[in-house]
């Protein structure tokens, strides 16, 4: 703990007073700069009613102190409490230090920093070092290992692509039934990100160098997110960067170096002879007409030519071709220093994040300048940030390599690379050699530049009051240039002036925002701690998007728009301007009695210019209460050092999309004109009677620490009731619009999460800790009745979600399957009544599983020995099911077209071939589409080593000779090993990666 205070209590041993009388104590309470502190409370610890306050110069006079020895408490909000022993002295000068902000003791909400002990909400805070002990990729990747309620939705399509932003969820999805139209700027379930008090995009968080992070706080329940109102429905992630510290000029450097390599363990593709055998069995070489037809002869010839190639040893392994092992490094240099009044910090960082696919890159260059100035009651702080990102996208998608058959030769005999693997005549469509495609220019380069500045002014007055203003702006420019060579097969057959494509897109945004917070905080009589805040904030965001694409290039040498033939006929440039604004008023109050009972109240009014909002302002409120049992007088259990129970309730925000749905929107037609002037057509008809989706969120929490911090437990249980629910229903086209929103029923989500830390072993030099985090969420529909019956029937064999009372959005519905009949190769189903049948009937479907795991989380261990430390964190997920769509699509339901591409090995080995086969999948030559059945619903248990790291700190002599004060080095292995009960292809367009890395920090 960094908690520290100074005490300059002066005692005068000669000033003995006569016994039996009351005495007085006079003195002054100062801050660290020696300035008197007004409004500080001075009282006797054993009789708190005997107390006084300092005047506006910090002077106090405590009268009528009974005889004997007493402990006198000096206390003030925001300052560390000081106790002195009163033995009869007449005067005392007490210095109160500003309350040191140990990360574990405060909750940084981004607007106000709260003492954790009096906070009633559910929030967890992690220090930059804790994040760095997990990994160095980015904050969010580390955070998902530390915070059980936050998940990063696995992107099975884009895998480890450095240019794809992660999809985050805190406490699961905020549900909308049915499909959602993409009218919204943000991913609907993404939390709100706050960086140093200001709202930022997810990119800004991902781009932030992990060495610049002081702490990350995740706000989860209504009580803690209410201060952000309707934007915070999905939770809030608050990031604080390291401020400059006073002292001599300090230089610190940290560098991260890593090797990332592709993880192809989920791919299970056939080799050349397997593939050929599979094709043969699947009937690829059997003519549909009678066997003696010329068609059959051609097929035979094709088969034997391929067989010959396979016999000659052709067995191309395509997967490794587009991939590479990459070395990534990032560096952060920070210089800070200053005196008590003024501090400054300058940081520069660079990060290189090459992707494991050739041609995909991302590098980030950033810098920041921080200045803090403090004079009397004023504090002035300014942060300036600059970041530049360069990103490149790979030219050929990974699936083209995964699809290529192994019996094709990669290269001709002369070493040249053929463009075609298969002509249209054979496959019905042209199959190109992905290797040749990689050689054809197809670039996509993005350059982002972002500049931001933030000014923070704080004025403390009359002791108990403070006024803080924060103003910032961000200017971002993002430019993407893409060029596709005229030689690209996309242009085969196009006339000369339509070959090649160049496109340029630019988005230029300017945001400004500000916040003014008026705070009051005071401790009355050492018992009643009252604080209140009123704040007003505003933000404005302007985005201009422009773009065009032109065609008609002669070659790759001039990838310059001036060398094009111009616009393709009928196309025109894209140009759009949009502006969004929001403003909000917040009132929050906190009361704590003797540190035992705490109450939090929040009310926020949010106004937003979200297009279509009929109702511009919406209110959100929350109420929280907590009881710190350890502060009770009667509480005697010494072994428990901290025990607090919390409860909160509130209505977290109505999502922005509510507003869209209650208003009709017309769109102007820019494409066709006539002589009657402007025209507009309905882009979305509204349901004017739509009620807003209301959620009531309740949270019960427990914080527990025992045996000198050797056991630390945080547990939260939440219950969210959303009623009415917004349901997106499908209409027949004759309604004029095939999708409409309506209110139906409700949804109840509940779950729990917790973190348990146990220090199993603790000696002078050694510490061994075990950490275990867990979470579980369930949801169910209520009051739906049979109003959505038509959607249940509609989706029967294609989707597996059903809407009944008590049904869960996570449930998987399908007809039960008994597997493949060994005699016939046909699937045997179980009817609702338990009879066996070959006939698939959607009526027979039942709930066969749930995608929600019974329990998931992290189990880990940390070990410290002297200056050496090690940690290991593993993710587990147990008890859920998954619909194995890769098996369904790529093993079972292979279409005739898919036979031309390489497929999963199981299509050969696990499909039924002849009577007696005990097969997982249907007959190998059966090209009919199998409906979804329980056969593809598999238990999804996963265990993976998410992070392993080892570190060493030193301030050895030899380092000091080279002027290094201290150094630390850390080695990491991330996502190094994963076992899953479902073996499925992941990373279709971009594979997943494992990484091993090292970080070095030096302090000069």
């Amino acid at each position: 703990m960094l908690l520290s205070f100074k005490m300059q209590g002066q005692t005068n041993p000669h000033a003995q007073s006569p016994a039996g009388t009351s005495r007085n104590l006079v003195g002054v309470v100062k801050d660290e700069q020696g300035k008197g502190l007004p409004g500080a409370v001075v009282y006797l610890k054993d009789t708190p009613s005997k107390g006084t306050e300092t005047d506006r110069f910090g002077n106090f006079e405590l009268k009528g102190i009974p005889d004997g020895k007493h402990t006198i408490v000096f206390s003030m909000l925001g300052m560390t409490e000081v106790e002195i022993l009163y033995t009869g002295q007449e005067s005392a000068i007490v210095t109160l230090a500003e309350e040191a902000t140990s990360i574990e003791d405060v909750v940084v909400t981004g607007i106000i920093t709260r003492n954790r002990n009096s906070f009633t909400g559910s929030a967890s805070t992690f220090s930059g070092q804790e994040l760095k002990n997990i990994g160095t990729t980015n904050i969010l990747q580390s955070l998902k290992t530390l915070e059980p309620s936050m998940t990063i939705v696995e992107n099975t399509l884009r895998g480890a692509d450095p240019n794809t932003m992660p999809d985050l969820e805190i406490r699961g999805k905020t549900s909308i039934v049915g499909e959602l139209e993409s009218d919204y700027d943000n991913v609907p379930n993404q939390p709100l990100f706050i960086l140093d008090g200001m709202e930022v995009s997810i990119e800004a968080i991902v781009n932030l160098n992990i060495d610049r992070v002081k702490s990350v706080t995740v706000l989860k329940d209504a009580a803690s997110t209410a201060i952000y109102g309707s934007k915070a429905a999905n939770g809030v992630i608050v990031v604080e960067t390291i401020p400059p510290e006073p002292g001599q000029l300090r230089v610190s450097y940290s560098g991260n170096f890593g090797i990332q390599f592709p993880d192809l363990s989920d791919y299970n593709l056939m080799n050349a002879s397997e593939k050929l055998q599979f094709e043969k069995l699947a009937g690829r070489y059997t003519s549909r007409s009678e066997t003696e037809s010329p068609e059959q002869d051609a097929l035979d010839a094709l088969y034997y030519s391929r067989l010959k190639a396979v016999r000659e040893g052709v067995d191309s392994y395509w997967l490794s071709d587009p991939l590479r092992v990459v070395f990534n490094h990032s560096h952060n240099l920070y210089v800070d220093g200053g005196d008590q009044n003024m501090q400054y910090g300058i940081g520069v960082n660079y990060g290189n994040d090459k992707g494991i696919m050739k041609g995909s890159d991302r590098d980030i260059l950033g810098g920041d300048i921080q200045v803090r100035y403090r004079k009397n009651n004023f504090t002035f702080a300014n942060n300036f940030n600059l970041s530049m990102v360069n990103a490149d996208v790979e030219p050929v998608s990974f699936d083209q390599f995964a699809n290529a058959n192994p019996y094709y030769r990669k290269r001709n005999a002369d070493g040249s690379i053929p463009l075609l693997l298969e002509s249209t005549a054979v496959a019905g469509t042209t199959i190109y050699n992905p290797l040749a495609l990689s050689g054809i220019t197809n670039t996509n380069h993005t350059k982002d530049l972002s500049i931001s500045d933030q000014l923070d002014l704080t004025w403390r007055f009359l002791g108990a009051f403070s006024l803080r203003g924060t103003f910032g702006f961000t200017k971002s420019i993002s430019e993407t240039e893409a060029f596709k060579s005229p030689d690209h097969p996309d242009f085969t057959g196009s006339i000369a002036d339509k070959k090649g494509l160049y496109s340029a897109d630019k988005s230029d945004s300017f945001n400004y925002n500000g916040r003014v917070v008026f705070s009051y905080g005071k401790l009355f009589k050492g018992q009643h701690n009252v604080s209140a805040n009123a704040s007003w904030d505003f933000s404005n965001k302007d985005i201009k998007r422009t773009g065009y694409s032109i065609t008609g290039f002669v070659g790759d040498q001039h990838q310059n728009p001036a060398f094009s033939a111009g616009f393709d006929k009928g196309t025109k440039p894209v140009y759009s301007n949009s502006r969004s604004r929001s403003t909000g008023f917040l009132l929050s109050a906190n009361y704590a009695y003797k540190g035992r009972y705490m109450i939090d109240l929040n009310y926020r009014l949010d106004g937003s210019s979200v297009f279509g909002a009929q109702k511009m302002f919406t209110g959100t409120w929350s109420l929280g209460a907590a009881w710190d049992i350890t502060n009770e007088k009667w509480f005697k259990a010494e072994w428990i050092s901290f025990l607090k129970v919390r409860y909160s309730i509130g209505n977290p925000g109505n999502q922005n999309f509510d507003a869209y749905m209650s208003s009709g929107i017309y769109e102007y037609n820019p494409d066709y004109t006539n002589i009657f002037g402007e025209s507009a057509i309905l882009s979305k008809a509204a349901n004017r009677n739509l009620a807003w989706q209301k959620t009531l969120d309740q949270n019960w929490g427990l914080d527990f620490t025992a045996w000198q911090d050797r056991i630390r437990l945080t547990f939260d249980y939440y219950h969210k009731n959303t009623n009415p629910l917004l349901v997106s229903i499908t209409l027949p086209p004759s309604a004029g619009q095939t999708r409409a929103y309506t209110n139906l029923g409700g949804q109840i989500s509940q779950g729990f999460s917790g973190i348990l830390n146990v220090i199993a072993l603790k000696t002078e030099t050694m510490r061994l800790g075990v950490n275990f985090s867990f979470s579980h969420n369930t949801s169910r529909y209520v009051d739906i009745g049979n109003s959505l019956e038509f959607m249940n029937q509609h989706g029967s064999s294609e989707v597996f979600r059903r809407y009944y009372d008590g049904a869960s959005p996570d449930d998987i519905w399908a007809v039960r399957s008994l597997g493949i009949d060994p005699a016939t190769g046909r699937e045997i189903f179980l009817t609702r009544t338990g009879e066996y049948t070959f006939q698939y009937n959607a009526e027979d479907e039942v709930k066969v599983g749930s995608t929600a795991p019974d329990l998931e989380g992290i189990i880990g261990m940390t070990f410290y020995y002297k200056r050496f430390s090690a940690s290991i964190n593993c993710r587990y997920q147990a008890g859920g099911q998954i619909f194995a769509s890769a098996l369904y699509n790529k093993v079972e339901n292979l279409s005739e077209q898919q036979l031309y591409y390489n497929v999963d090995r199981r299509a050969l080995y696990d499909r039924w071939q002849k009577p007696g086969d005990n097969a997982m999948f249907k007959a190998i030559d059966n090209l009919d589409t199998t409906p979804m059945s329980s056969r593809f619903v598999l238990d999804n248990n996963v265990f993976s080593f998410e992070s392993i790291s080892v570190g060493y700190d030193t301030n050895a002599r030899w380092l000091q000779k080279i002027r290094v004060q201290g150094a630390s080095i850390r080695l990491y292995a991330n996502n190094i090993w994963r076992i899953s009960s479902v073996k499925e292809e992941r990373g279709i367009e971009y594979p997943f990666a494992n990484s091993v890395s090292m970080s070095i920090s030096l302090r000069f």
């Binding site: 297009f611 066709y672 006539n674 002589i675 004759s734």
Partner: protein
């Protein structure tokens, strides 16, 4: 004050979108929404395709699609799947526009007297009711029954609600009743307000919105009446409907003929527009007698270059043979021959292409952008058919010959029915009316227009019936 200044600050406009409430808060907004419907009528699934130049004319056997590899051979052969694919998107687009129209009608009634004055209310609501009838009637012709066989069969839903809702499928006769009600209401509103009644088309561009001008590009009073004639003629096998059809047709002829005269040769050959005969200025749609046309600034690109352009791959091209052409136009002076041209296709074969919708620019003229929907000539044909059915042969020939002469062909005095059909064939190429003539007649076989030497094509009653699109039908089980 703080609250109101906050609200003012939050009020942000969008460049490409506008809120419904805001749009309908001014008369101008009403016209913007109404114009949105007119402009969308040129959608490729409506009058730039499925409702006029493509599907119905392919089904009517205008074009040679006999090659197996021809894109439209299965449609021309009345194959179920091809028919289903052809009309799928049209259905949703038409009903989308109907919803748009219903929204405008709803707002008209809410804001009469506050936002809209009497005149604008009558014109806007009158045009909207007519557009609603027009689009429903187009759907009825496709998806409704052959009335003379099963008039009570399920047809289509008739949408009048301002919110997207599921509505029941009505029988053919029920839809007819709704159509007549809308058309009568529309005529009632326009009769007292439409400037076309006294002033005709008024083709003077004043800039701006041209609010009460260019009535031939709007569902004007006469166009609505002509539509009513067409709608009632669709049940022309019944005397009472035929009577109404005749009445409407005769009223249009007597009241509107002076405003919508037939085109002259000078107009057709470009002389009227440019001072001399000019292929690039030909009024090939013979625009003068058009009562209502949709206006497509990309007509050439959307229609001609998609279906009729001779450089198209030959299996996509819609064209007829020289033999078909000469039997279609035995008289060389026929003004409608301006709509066709002898060309060479991609394979080097001689073909005759419909150049009616070829892209061109003629100063001050709208005909290069027009796709005719309703025209005066049809009124003469309806009248002729009605007179003939009631035994009034003289009047029937007189009406038919007025049209024939106007198109600069000779008069006839025999075979009235065959000659009426012949006139439908010549008059409505690219306008999609002929097939519906066959459907209402329940013609069991029809002629291969592209080459009369080929045997007639058997349609049968089933050929005229279209299933509701899957996306619609799925809700109806």
């Amino acid at each position: 004050m703080l609250a109101s200044s906050c609200k003012a600050w939050l009020n942000v406009d969008s460049e490409d979108r506008i809120l419904e409430e805001r749009l309908f808060s001014s008369t101008d907004g009403f016209y913007t929404a109404l114009n949105g419907v007119y402009i969308d009528l040129v959608n490729a699934n409506l009058y730039s395709g499925t409702l006029a130049p493509s599907t119905p004319d392919i089904l009517a056997q205008y074009y040679d699609t006999s090659a197996d590899t021809h894109t439209y051979s299965s449609l021309a052969g009345f194959q179920g799947e091809a028919k289903r694919v052809a009309v799928n998107d049209m259905w949703s687009r038409a009903y989308f526009l109907i919803l748009n129209v219903n929204k405008i009608i709803g707002h008209c009634d809410e804001r009469k007297g506050t936002v809209l004055n009497e005149l604008d209310y009558s014109i806007i609501k009158g045009e909207c009711l007519a557009l609603r009838a027009l689009l429903h009637f187009e759907m009825l012709r496709y998806f409704g029954p052959v009335f003379s066989v099963s008039p009570g069969a399920d047809a289509i839903p008739y949408m009048t609600d301002t919110d997207p809702k599921v509505s029941p499928v009505l029988s053919g006769t029920a839809v007819m009743a709704r159509l007549n009600a809308d058309l009568e209401a529309s005529m009632g509103l326009l009769a007292g307000s439409d400037p076309v009644i006294a002033g005709g088309k008024n083709e003077v561009d004043n800039g701006g919105r041209n609010l009460y001008g260019f009535r031939n590009l709007r569902m004007n009073y006469f166009a609505v009446k002509a539509l009513a004639a067409r709608v009632n003629m669709y049940l022309g096998y019944l005397e009472n409907y035929r009577g109404k059809a005749l009445q409407y047709a005769e009223e249009v002829i007597s009241d509107a003929a002076r405003f919508f005269p037939f085109s002259t040769r000078e107009e057709a050959n470009g002389q009227a527009a440019t001072g001399n005969v000019n292929t690039a200025a030909e009024d090939r749609v013979l625009s003068s007698d058009i009562l209502f046309a949709v206006y497509n600034i990309r007509r050439g690109e959307d229609i001609y270059e998609k279906y009729f352009y001779n450089t198209l791959e030959s299996n996509r091209l819609l064209a007829i043979s020289e033999r078909g052409y000469s039997s279609m136009f035995p008289e060389e002076g026929d003004l409608r021959t301006f709509q066709w041209a002898r060309k060479r296709d991609a394979l080097g074969n001689d073909v005759v292409c419909l150049v009616k919708y070829e892209a061109m620019e003629v100063d001050g003229k709208n005909y290069p952008y027009m796709i005719p929907v309703l025209r005066m000539s049809e009124m003469y044909l309806i009248a002729a058919e009605c007179y003939n059915a009631s035994g009034d042969t003289d009047l029937a020939y007189r009406r038919l010959n007025t049209l024939r002469n106007a198109r600069q062909t000779s008069s006839v005095s025999t075979a009235i029915e065959a000659n009426i059909e012949y006139e439908y064939i010549r008059e409505f190429a690219g306008e999609g009316q002929l097939f519906w003539y066959y459907k209402r007649k329940n013609a069991q076989t029809i002629t291969a227009i592209y080459d009369r030497s080929k045997p007639d094509i058997t349609v049968g009653t089933a050929g005229y019936l279209f299933d509701l699109p899957q996306s619609e039908d799925g809700f109806r089980d």
